[in-house]
Amino acid sequence: MRTLATPVLAAALAFGSLDAAAQQTVNMPIVIELSGPGAVSGTNFRDGAVLAIEEINAKGGILKRKIVAPQSDTQSNAGISRAQVQKAIDSDPYVILGPVFSGSVMVNMVLCQQAEVPQITGAEAAGITQAGNPYIFRTSFGQQMSMPKIANYIRDGLKAKSVSVLWVNNDFGKGGRDTFVKEMAARNIKVVADVSTESGQVDFAADVVKLKGANADAIFVYTNEEESARFLREARKQGVDKPLIGETTLLGQKVIDLAGDAANGARGHVGLSADAPVPAVQAFKEKFVKRFGYVPDHNGIKGYTGVYAVKYATEKIGKFDRKLLAKTLHGLTITPKQEPGILMEASWDANGDIDRVSFLAEVVEGKQKIVQTLPKLGK
């Protein structure tokens, strides 16, 4: 008996210490696009989240528990993202961060809903928050929030009577295109060319020829970041002189870096921007550049604010309760005074959509320049 006591006691101590270690941490897996067409978005989101996690852990974590955030790569593939989310769910997470690609989120959010795990996403397709899922939360505008703002700018700012649309043929692009076309119809602006492109497409020569032939007053570009850069280069090559209007995926810093001079003159609505004239956002940008060596795009802010939103809501509840977290986030408004990491006042509605100020921007000499700040829709 004495010979058994020591190993049994050692095992009990080991398991006990493992359990104690788990109690000292909170599991928040990051399931994100680290390769494939979504690599730019996903890497930014991941790095923003990592920055927030490092800051929070340096101050003791959430409710004295350090955040542990294992990362997995969806490869920008919806099927793989589903498997990765399932794997993350099997590890008993508190919250899942990501993905960013709408197509992936549409496929994997069902798993989070079934497992009752809150999911913080940077995806923008309108349908994501219209499926009755109480566990999905955005840290970016949905298309149903951003497209009306763009449409107003095209009507009032550009005074355009006709527009061409170039969009990427995935859930993100199709959702945006459908919402945009509806907004154009509501404002009596004619869509004279409707050009779909493929995710990962490299050659835009034919698409630009089509757009030039349509001769619209403005061209609305709604593709992923890398494709936006390639399109801008091709448009410049072929001498397109109509206004190129887009959303954050056309005006982000990575797009500007990839497109070079060809990005100058592109304009549009940005829900989030690292160039926003907001001191907290500027401070975040500096910290991000110092930590990662590159300028973040809007996805970096999405990841960063998502983690801080979870932190604030959890501290408000006072315990780690997934269902209660989801319930608390619905209808919650967080101000920078309450939680500096949120950067700008943000509110979530009953569907998980976010509302906050946004911006009109233009690319000038290789930099995104904010030309106007737009108020929250709720104000």
Partner: protein, 281 residues
């Protein structure tokens, strides 16, 4: 035309390798992708300026995609037959793609252009300087290659090696050197293609996927046993691809090369400009 010029350069490489050494290189697309990353790595890690990095990248392409490919992949595997070599090149393409993704970057990288990125107005039409440079470079490369193959002693020796290696050896032609030269020429052609497309497509580890497939089809459509067939196939596919996408349907542009391949195989299997070959049983 510019797109067709790129396809032609890559397709010529396919054909040359097949003719001289019975090598079907399914990593040809990745061969086009890689030289751009040699240049970027020389700039980022070697601290070189763009021009010296291009020279270094070109030299690295000749060594890695020419000499090392031949010595380390083709020579050991070819003695076991063509099929093992085909499978090896498929594995090599995966290795190269994943290697770049893992050790350099998974996202697209800007690649500087060595020419002006402006446009010219010629008779009311807008023509980009980039396209003119691509077409001119492709034409010069092809003309130089044709001159080399047909008008120089070494080129004629290469052709003799391609037609009948045993007889060429018996006549005192250094067959092994001729085959190595073919691999070096292929490496040079894919490096040129890489430097031409990367400023437009951006440098990314996935760039070789579509390009390799289309160039392979171009080589078959034009005629896999004729260099001029590869040129014709490349130009034809480039023109049709863009015309169909611009004026018919962009949704089906990816299907065009495959449809053309099926039609050619059914109607004229030796390719548009290829020679019918008989097989000894």
């Amino acid at each position: 035309m510019a797109t067709g010029g790129i396809y032609a350069l890559v397709a010529i490489g396919f054909v040359l390798l097949w003719q001289t050494s019975q090598t079907i290189n399914f990593a040809q697309g990745e061969f086009v992708m890689l030289p751009a990353f040699f240049v970027l790595a020389a700039m980022k890690f070697g601290g070189l300026g763009f021009a010296p990095a291009m020279v270094a990248g070109f030299a690295a392409a000749l060594i890695v995609l020419g000499v090392l490919f031949k010595r380390l992949v083709v020579d050991p595997v070819l003695r076991h037959g063509v099929l093992p070599l085909v499978i090896s090149t498929i594995a090599l393409s995966l290795l190269m793609k994943e290697g770049v993704k893992e050790f350099y970057a998974a996202d697209a990288q800007p690649f500087p252009a060595a020419w002006a990125t402006t446009s010219l107005r010629i008779g009311g039409a807008v023509v980009s300087v980039q396209n003119l440079v691509i077409i001119a470079t492709a034409v010069v490369a092809v003309v130089a290659l044709q001159y080399f193959l047909n008008r120089t002693r070494t080129g004629r020796q290469m052709q003799a090696t391609a037609q009948n290696p045993e007889l060429a050896l018996a006549l005192g032609i250094p067959v092994r050197r001729m085959i190595m030269l073919t691999f070096l020429i292929n490496a040079a052609l894919v490096a040129i293609a890489s430097f031409l497309v990367s400023p437009i497509y951006l440098a990314k580890f996935t760039n070789g996927e579509t390009l390799g497939l289309v160039a392979f089809i171009a080589a078959i459509v034009g005629g896999f046993n004729q260099v001029r067939g590869a040129i014709a196939g490349g130009l034809l596919l480039g023109l049709l691809d863009n015309f169909v996408a611009a004026y018919l349907s962009a949704q089906y542009r990816a299907a065009l090369p495959l449809v053309l391949l099926i039609v050619v195989i059914l109607v004229r299997p030796q390719g548009l400009l290829g020679r019918a070959e008989e097989r000894t049983v």
